[in-house]
C-alpha cells in the first residue's frame, strides 16, 4: 500500500501517540486484510485453471482407470502418456499447428502493413475526403463479422479463395477478411499522432520523400504500438473459430480450434484422447502468453482488443 503512511511523517502536532497506535492496529489489520485478499485471489485463480487441471488429469489417466470414478480422482492412479501418443498418431495436430501458424503469421503481417499505411495519412496529412474516410473506417467497428459472414463467404467463394481450389487459396481466404481492422488503424494513428512534427521536418530537409519519411522515420518510432497490434492480432487470429469452420472443407487445412473441435466427433466418448488433444493444442499459446505476459497483464494496454 504505497503512501498509506505518507502522512504520519508530516509534523502533526500532538498526535504522535495516536498515530503510532493506529499504526499498530493498521499493521495487524493489514495482515488480516491481506489474508482475505490472498484467499479470494487464490480461490479465483483456482477457478480459472480448474477446468484445465481436470482436463489435464483426465488426459493422464490410463485405460485401467475409470475416468468417471465416484468420487472423482484428481491425481491419475494409472498414470500414462499413452493418450498423448495415441492422439498424436491418430490426428495430425502438427499439421493443424502449422496451419494456424501460417494463418496467424499472414494475418499479423498484413495487419501491421495495412494498418500503419492507412493510419499515416489519417494522422499526418490533409486531403480531400479525409473526414468521410475516417468515418467509413470507424463504421466498420460497428459491423460485427457475425452479421455479414454470409456475404463474406459468398465473395470468398467468388474470388476462389477456398481450399477446394488449392491450399494456398485456402490460406488466403482464411486470412483476407481479417487482413486489416479499424482497431489496428486507429491504434497506429494514435501512435503516429504522438510523434513530434519536427521529426518529419528534419527528414524532409535531409531530402527524404514521403515514403521514406514513413518507412525510415515514422515506422521505427511506433515499434511499441506495432508490437501491441501484432500480439493482439496474433491472439485473435489464433483463437478464431467461426470463419475457419465456415470456409474449410479439407481436414488437412484445419486450424487448431477447428481441429480440436473435430476431436469430439472423432473420439466420440473417448475423453482421454479428447483431453490429451486439447491440452497439446493449448501448449503453444500458453508459451506465447508467458513469453509476452507484460503486454497482457501490465495493465497499460487497456484491454486492447476483443473479438
Amino acid at each position: 500500500m504505497r503512501g498509506k503512511f505518507g502522512l504520519p511523517s508530516l509534523p502533526v502536532r500532538g498526535q504522535n501517540f495516536d498515530l503510532s497506535r493506529s499504526g499498530e492496529n493498521q499493521k495487524f489489520g493489514r495482515g488480516l486484510k491481506n489474508f482475505w485478499v490472498h484467499a479470494i485471489l487464490i480461490f479465483v485463480s483456482l477457478l480459472s485453471i480448474l477446468p484445465f487441471i481436470w482436463l489435464l488429469s483426465t488426459s493422464l489417466k490410463g485405460s485401467g482407470e475409470n475416468i468417471f470414478a465416484y468420487p472423482p480422482v484428481l491425481f491419475p492412479q494409472d498414470f500414462t502418456w499413452e493418450n498423448y501418443v495415441g492422439v498424436w498418431h491418430k490426428v495430425d495436430l502438427m499439421r493443424y499447428f502449422i496451419n494456424s501458424m501460417i494463418v496467424a503469421a499472414g494475418t499479423v503481417l498484413l495487419n501491421l502493413i495495412l494498418s500503419s499505411l492507412a493510419a499515416y495519412p489519417l494522422a499526418r496529412m490533409e486531403f480531400k475526403g479525409k473526414k468521410i474516410t475516417f468515418f467509413a473506417i470507424l463504421a466498420t467497428i460497428m459491423i460485427p463479422f457475425q452479421a455479414i459472414m454470409l456475404p463474406v463467404y459468398l465473395i470468398t467463394l467468388k474470388l476462389h479463395l477456398v481450399d477446394t481450389v488449392n491450399d494456398t487459396m485456402g490460406f488466403i481466404g482464411l486470412i483476407m477478411p481479417f487482413a486489416v481492422s479499424a482497431f489496428g488503424i486507429f491504434l497506429m494513428r494514435q501512435a503516429f499522432l504522438a510523434i513530434p512534427r519536427e521529426m518529419e521536418e528534419a527528414a524532409i530537409v535531409d531530402g527524404c520523400n514521403v515514403f521514406q519519411v514513413f518507412w525510415k522515420v515514422l515506422l521505427p518510432m511506433v515499434k511499441p504500438s506495432l508490437a501491441v497490434l501484432a500480439i493482439f492480432t496474433f491472439i485473435g487470429s489464433w483463437g478464431e473459430f467461426l470463419w475457419p469452420s465456415i470456409v474449410l472443407t479439407k481436414e488437412t487445412m484445419y486450424t487448431l480450434p477447428v481441429g480440436v473441435n473435430n476431436l469430439q466427433g472423432m473420439f466420440s466418448s473417448n475423453w482421454r484422447f479428447i483431453a490429451a488433444g486439447s491440452i497439446i493444442s493449448t501448449i503453444p499459446i500458453i508459451i506465447f502468453f508467458l513469453a509476452m505476459q507484460k503486454y497482457f497483464i501490465s495493465g497499460e494496454n487497456d484491454g486492447a482488443v476483443k473479438g
Partner: protein, 290 residues
C-alpha cells in the same frame, strides 16, 4: 508545416486497407441488407424479390422469440457479472502483495486459451458423471443435466463466457484504477473509511466511465457468442441455447436459407450498431476524434 507530400500520396497509403475493407466489409454489409429482401427458400440458385417476407416470417416464427430471449438472457446474466466481479478483483489485485504477477497470469489465462478448448474443458466438467455433479451430490443436491436439461443449459453456457471474460475485464479495470489519484485514498483512510466505503466514495465515481465501457463491450460481445454454443450444445436441447449468431449460422450454412438468415443478420446489425454507437460516442470518444 509545409506540405511535403503530393496530391495522390494520402490515397496511395490508404488504398490497400481500403480495398480489403471494401471487399470484406462494405460490400458484404450492403449485400446482407440486399439479401434480406430476397427469397432463397425454394431455389438456392434463383432468388426472387421477396419484399419484407423474410422479416414477416421471422416475426411469426416462435423460434425467433426463443432465440431473442436467449440472447437477452445472455445480456441480463453475463453483463452485470462481467461488469462487477472483474472490478472487485481489480480492486483486490491493485496493491503490492506477494504473488501478484502469478495471480494476474492465472486469472488472465482463460482469456488467452482458445474458446474451443475452454468449451471442451467445461463440457467435461458438465458431464453427467462429471465433477460438478459430484460437487452437487456432496451438497446433497441431485445431479442435473448441465447441458442436457433445457432449464439449465443456457446458464451452463453463460458460465463459460463469464469465466473466459473475467480476466480480460479485470485488466481493463486495473488500467483505469491506476489513474485514480492516490491522495484521495489517503484522505479517505485518514477519515477512517473502511474498504467498502473507500471504494464506494472514491473508486466507483472515478472509474464510472470504465464501468460503462465494460458494460457496453461485454454486451456487444455477448451478442456475438457462437463458439461456446457450437462446441457444447449446437443450440440444443430444444433450442434452449440458440442465440442470434448461432441461428444465423444455422439458417445460412445448414438450411441454406440465405434470405431468412440475412434478415436475421440485419436485425443483429441494428442491435449491435446501437450499442457500438453508444460506446463510441460516449466512452471512447478520444480514440476516434478526427
Amino acid at each position: 508545416m509545409f506540405k511535403y507530400y503530393g496530391k495522390t500520396a494520402p490515397y496511395l497509403f490508404l488504398l490497400p486497407a481500403f480495398v480489403v475493407l471494401v471487399i470484406f466489409f462494405f460490400i458484404p454489409f450492403f449485400q446482407t441488407i440486399f439479401l434480406s429482401f430476397q427469397d432463397y427458400s425454394h431455389d438456392i440458385y434463383n432468388a426472387n424479390f421477396a419484399g419484407l417476407q423474410n422479416y414477416l416470417d421471422i416475426i411469426k416464427n416462435p423460434i425467433f422469440y426463443k432465440v431473442l430471449w436467449n440472447t437477452l438472457l445472455y445480456l441480463i446474466v453475463a453483463v452485470p457479472i462481467l461488469a462487477i466481479v472483474p472490478l472487485f478483483l481489480a480492486v483486490l489485485i491493485n496493491r503490492e502483495i506477494k504473488g501478484l504477477t502469478l495471480y494476474k497470469i492465472l486469472i488472465y489465462l482463460p482469456v488467452i486459451v482458445s474458446i474451443v478448448v475452454a468449451a471442451i474443458a467445461f463440457k467435461w466438467l458438465y458431464a453427467e458423471q462429471g465433477i460438478l455433479n459430484y460437487l452437487l451430490n456432496v451438497l446433497h443436491i441431485n445431479s442435473i443435466g448441465w447441458l442436457t436439461d433445457p432449464k439449465y443449459a443456457i446458464y451452463s453456457v453463460i458460465i463459460v463466457t463469464i469465466w473466459k471474460g473475467i480476466g480480460y475485464y479485470m485488466m481493463i479495470y486495473l488500467a483505469a484504477l491506476m489513474s485514480v489519484p492516490k491522495e484521495l485514498y489517503e484522505a479517505c483512510e485518514i477519515d477512517g473509511a473502511g474498504f467498502f466505503r473507500k471504494h464506494l466514495t472514491v473508486t466507483i465515481p472515478h472509474i464510472m466511465p470504465t464501468i460503462a465501457l465494460v458494460t457496453t463491450i461485454s454486451s456487444i460481445s455477448a451478442m456475438k457468442i457462437f463458439a461456446e454454443i457450437y462446441v457444447m450444445t449446437k443450440g440444443g436441447p430444444l433450442n434452449s441455447t440458440k442465440t442470434i449468431v448461432y441461428y444465423i449460422y444455422e439458417k445460412a450454412f445448414e438450411n441454406l436459407d440465405l434470405g431468412y438468415a440475412s434478415a436475421m443478420a440485419v436485425l443483429l446489425l441494428i442491435i449491435v450498431m446501437i450499442f457500438s454507437l453508444i460506446n463510441i460516442c460516449c466512452f471512447e470518444r478520444g480514440k476516434y476524434q478526427v
